[in-house]
Structure formats: structure tokens, C-alpha cells
């Protein structure tokens, strides 16, 4: 079951403006390096890929490793020339994908 991400995108922007986007997905980012109290390695389970697109075109993406902290946070920029929709996706080691959308009005 996917968790609900927290996202901050400005509601409006001027044409050609570079806007700042912040995202966080609640996720333990189990590194695969930890041992439980019986000394058994806890299997790795992380978000390994994040991608952001705007009106279907790629804006930013990241392949991430266990060295990214729990509740993976990513902040980046986007240059917007038109109104539209950002789509975000987080891919888990187990294959599940969490997605979210945010609209922006460009004037």
C-alpha cells in the first residue's frame, strides 16, 4: 500500500519562471545494512527511483541508494512555460509505484 506523499508546488507562476518543488514520501528506506536483535540482516527495502514530469515531459529524476535518508526528500526546480500538471512517481524495491499530481497555473 502506497503512502501519501507531501508535495509543495506553487499554485501560480509567470511564463518562463523557474519554480522550486519540494517532495517527501513517508518511507522507512530500509538500508539492507541493519541487523535485527537476533543478528539477522533486515532485508533492503527502499525507494530506488523518483521521477517528475510536466505535461508529459521529463523535468527531473533521481536514482537513489540506501544512503538517502528515511522519508526521502527531494527538492529541485522546473522552468514552466505553460499551465499544466506535474506528475511525480516513487518506485519501491518491491515494484510498487506511488504517484501524485499537482497543477500549476502559468500566466
Amino acid at each position: 500500500m502506497a503512502e501519501t506523499p507531501k508535495i509543495r508546488v506553487p499554485k501560480t507562476a509567470k511564463k518562463g519562471e523557474i519554480v522550486e518543488i519540494k517532495t517527501l514520501l513517508p518511507h522507512i528506506m530500509e538500508s539492507g545494512q541493519r541487523k535485527d536483535k537476533d543478528g539477522k540482516t533486515i532485508p533492503r527495502k527502499i525507494i530506488n527511483k523518483f521521477a517528475a514530469e510536466f505535461n508529459g515531459k521529463p523535468v527531473f529524476s533521481a536514482n537513489i541508494e540506501p544512503a538517502v535518508a528515511a522519508n526521502p526528500y527531494l527538492q529541485f526546480s522546473a522552468k514552466v512555460e505553460e499551465s499544466g500538471t506535474f506528475k511525480f512517481s516513487w518506485t519501491d524495491d518491491d515494484g510498487s509505484v506511488t504517484t501524485a499530481e499537482e497543477k500549476i497555473t502559468v500566466s
Binding site: K6, R8, T23, L24, P26, I28, K37, A70, N71, Y73
Partner: protein, 418 residues
């Protein structure tokens, strides 16, 4: 058992509705609030959290009982030269598994290729030039109380952290320290290391994952229990009626004969009104405590310090804060007094003022929310002493004393700390 308990809760809830439902005043609700006096607010017997050190510290003082053996009165006699293996001593002084290591408080020249040593206690980098007798050095490490009964230094030998032979190795190492410390980088010098500044916006969910508890608390507020009642039944406008309440807590509670904090209040009140079981140090209790504190954010802390009962509780808190506890034989004031504005290894020790206004707080090192009572418990275990149950009277006295030192500071919960 469960059925009977719920039935009692529902009956109590029903009987109080008529009188309370007409007023939604946090302050008034507190003075009359049903508290369910018959049961403890936390697990009994108290069991230490999973993942915490499981060691038994029952030989030593806690904030609840005195047990530590008396300090030796006389220094131990050395029959010959101390001998010892200085190379092994260099390793031992940096061994963090033995009570934190000497470097937590002392700069020690090249010891352990020291990263971020502390400066609570004297720089020992030139102790080898000080002309100290072997026997004096040996006893100072073994149990410094023979020279200074009030010392902060743990009795490393008397309390079994190091064997006699190991202490001789440490002394041999100390005797080799003859030149001023050379630090690996400027930051390693505790006299020059910049003190940390907390700049994160702790109320931004993108900064503070602990904000989950505010959302969870809002949800729990409206959640109807089997009784058909929720917090919302009586307190339908919590944003208004609890705008200042948490800032007035903890408070002396005559019905319990102890200081009552927000967390214990939540357990007792919810149990006896809507019939839910939210014991202290469980997620629902934490969420509700964070939410109630959150509602009072921006309000200056204003606890009762004037009543005779509050004054007596604070006086007891002051005394407890000076009690030596645990195998490390340290009092609250040894760190949160003597070490204030100094470095304990790489950790800056701030003054008590400012250590309460953000609790319960998100701990980035643990991915968990801790309330103040769990923080007290961790301090106890960290100095190798047994913790008390979170609802103990002693922690209540200590919490009120700490809150009184934070009087007037603006509350901002959940905090975010390491």
C-alpha cells in the same frame, strides 16, 4: 476484562456528559476533568523499550531509590611502580563501549586519533608533565571521590568499567602525555568549535516527519470509541478551548498526589470518559500529546510555580536533579549544569532553558517522537541506571522543575532535534 472495563468507561462517560458538554473550556475541563484514578497510566511492571540496553543497573541509585554502595574513604595503595601498557591505555581511553570514553570530557593529546573530543573537564594533553604520583593518577581514575566527593568523574574502577590492570594501562598512557594537543582540524578543538544552531522549521511537514502526530491527533480527536463518544463529543472546538492548556502543564494534581503531565492526563482522562486505552509511550498517546501541545503553540509556557504544592514539587525536583544515579554516578546537574555551554564529545550541552518548549519532539537520530518522560528515561539508561515508569511521581517533580526553568518560552511542538 476488556468488556467490563469498557462498560465502566461508558458509564462514566455517560454520567459526565450532562455536566461537561455545556462548556468546552480547556481550563475548566482540567480543574474538574475525570481522571480514572484506579489504574496506572503506563505499563506495570515497567519494561524497558526494545532496542535499549538490556543491562541490569539495579545495584545503583535511580531517581526512585538509593542503592549505590558508599564511596571508598581512602585511596588505594600501590605497592610498586604502576607499570602498565601505555599503548593499550591509549585504546581504552577512546573505547566508547566503556561508559562513553575519556574523550567525552577530556582533550587528551593524540589519544585515539581523537575526533571531536569534549571539554567538560581539564585538557589532559600535558598531564605527563604535572608531576603527579602514580598512585594519585591511579586513584583518580579508579575512584576520584577519594580526593573530591563532589566530582563529576565516574568511579571507573569502583563501578567496574575498567579492571585494576586496565586502569594501570590508562595511567601509563597518561604519563606519556607531555605536549599540547594538536587537533586534526579546527573543528576538533572544542574551544573553537562553533555551537550548533537549529534553523529548521519544525512545523513544516516537509522538514519535520514528526508532524504525522498532529494529523493523527486530529483524527483520534474525532474517532468514536465503542462507547459512541469521542473527544469531540465534549470538546468540539479544540483549537479554541485548548489554545493555552498544554502550556499550563504539568500541574500538581491532588487526586493523584503527584505532578500530572499532558501524557498521563490523556491516558487517564480518555480511559474514564470515552473508554479508550491510550497508555503513555504508545503511538496514540504520543499523537494526542503532540496535538494538544500543537494547539497551544505560540503560547508562552506558564506553569503553576506559586502554590504551596507546586513549590514543594519543584523543591523535590531540584533535589532529584542533584542525585547521583546509575553506574556512571552522575546527576542531572553534572551535565545540565556543570557542562552547560560545553562539549560532551561532539554534542553541545545547552542550558535547561530551551530544553522543554519543543517536547514532545521528533528525533532525527531515532525516527521517533519522544515525550519528555521518555527523554528522562533515556538519560537514566544512558548513565547506566534503571529508568522509572514514565508516570512516576519523581519524573513529575522533575518535569515541573524543568518547565519552571522554561517559564515564558513560547511553545513550538513537535520540535525537531537530533
Amino acid at each position: 476484562m476488556r468488556g467490563k472495563f469498557l462498560a465502566v468507561g461508558v458509564a462514566a462517560a455517560a454520567s459526565m456528559m450532562a455536566s461537561v458538554i455545556v462548556t468546552d473550556s480547556g481550563a475548566r475541563a482540567q480543574s474538574k476533568a475525570p481522571l480514572g484514578l484506579g489504574q496506572d497510566a503506563a505499563a506495570r511492571p515497567w519494561k524497558r523499550y526494545p532496542g535499549w540496553p538490556a543491562a541490569d543497573y539495579s545495584k545503583y541509585n535511580t531517581l526512585g531509590k538509593l542503592a549505590t554502595a558508599p564511596a571508598p574513604k581512602e585511596p588505594r595503595k600501590l605497592t610498586g611502580p604502576v607499570g602498565g601498557d601505555a599503548a593499550n591505555g591509549a585504546k581504552l581511553v577512546a573505547d566508547r563501549s566503556r561508559g562513553g570514553s575519556c574523550l567525552a570530557c577530556h582533550v587528551m593529546g593524540p589519544a585515539g586519533n581523537a575526533d571531536l573530543p569534549g571539554n567538560v573537564a581539564p585538557d589532559l594533553s600535558e598531564i605527563g608533565n604535572a608531576g603527579r604520583e602514580d598512585e594519585w593518577l591511579y586513584n583518580y581514575v579508579f575512584d576520584a571521590r577519594v580526593y573530591n566527593p563532589e566530582t563529576v568523574m565516574p568511579p571507573w574502577g569502583s563501578h567496574g568499567f575498567f579492571s585494576e590492570a586496565e586502569i594501570k594501562d590508562i595511567v601509563a598512557f597518561l604519563k606519556t602525555l607531555k605536549s599540547p594537543a594538536v587537533f586534526r582540524t579546527a573543528l576538533d578543538n572544542p574551544e573553537k568549535r562553533p555551537q550548533p544552531v537549529e534553523k529548521r522549521d519544525n512545523l513544516d511537514p516537509l522538514e519535520n516527519p514528526g508532524m504525522w502526530a498532529v494529523e493523527k491527533g486530529e483524527e483520534l480527536w474525532k474517532l468514536k470509541s465503542a462507547s459512541g463518544f469521542s473527544c469531540n463529543t465534549c470538546h468540539s472546538d479544540p483549537k479554541t478551548s485548548f489554545k493555552t492548556w498544554a502550556a499550563s502543564m504539568p500541574k500538581w494534581e491532588p487526586r493523584l498526589n503527584k505532578v500530572l503531565g499532558v501524557e498521563e492526563f490523556v491516558t487517564r482522562h480518555a480511559r474514564t470518559t470515552i473508554g479508550v486505552d491510550w497508555p503513555m509511550e504508545t503511538d496514540n498517546n504520543r499523537a494526542m500529546s503532540v496535538y494538544l501541545h500543537f494547539l497551544a503553540n505560540g503560547t508562552p509556557i506558564k506553569v503553576d510555580t506559586e502554590s504551596a504544592e507546586a513549590k514543594a514539587a519543584i523543591a523535590r525536583g531540584v533535589e532529584l536533579s542533584k542525585r547521583k544515579v546509575g553506574a556512571l554516578n552522575m546527576a542531572c546537574t553534572d551535565c545540565h549544569g556543570i557542562a552547560v555551554n560545553k562539549w560532551i564529545r561532539g554534542q553541545w550541552m545547552g542550558e535547561p532553558k530551551g530544553q522543554y518548549d519543543h517536547f514532545p519532539t521528533w528525533r532525527t537520530s531515532l525516527l521517533a517522537i519522544w515525550d519528555i518522560r521518555q527523554r528522562f528515561q533515556w538519560c537514566s539508561v544512558n548513565i547506566r541506571g534503571d529508568e522509572l515508569p514514565p508516570d512516576s511521581k519523581e519524573y513529575g517533580d522533575l518535569e515541573l522543575y524543568l518547565a519552571s526553568q522554561n517559564q515564558g518560552l513560547t511553545m513550538s511542538v513537535p520540535g525537531i532535534r537530533h
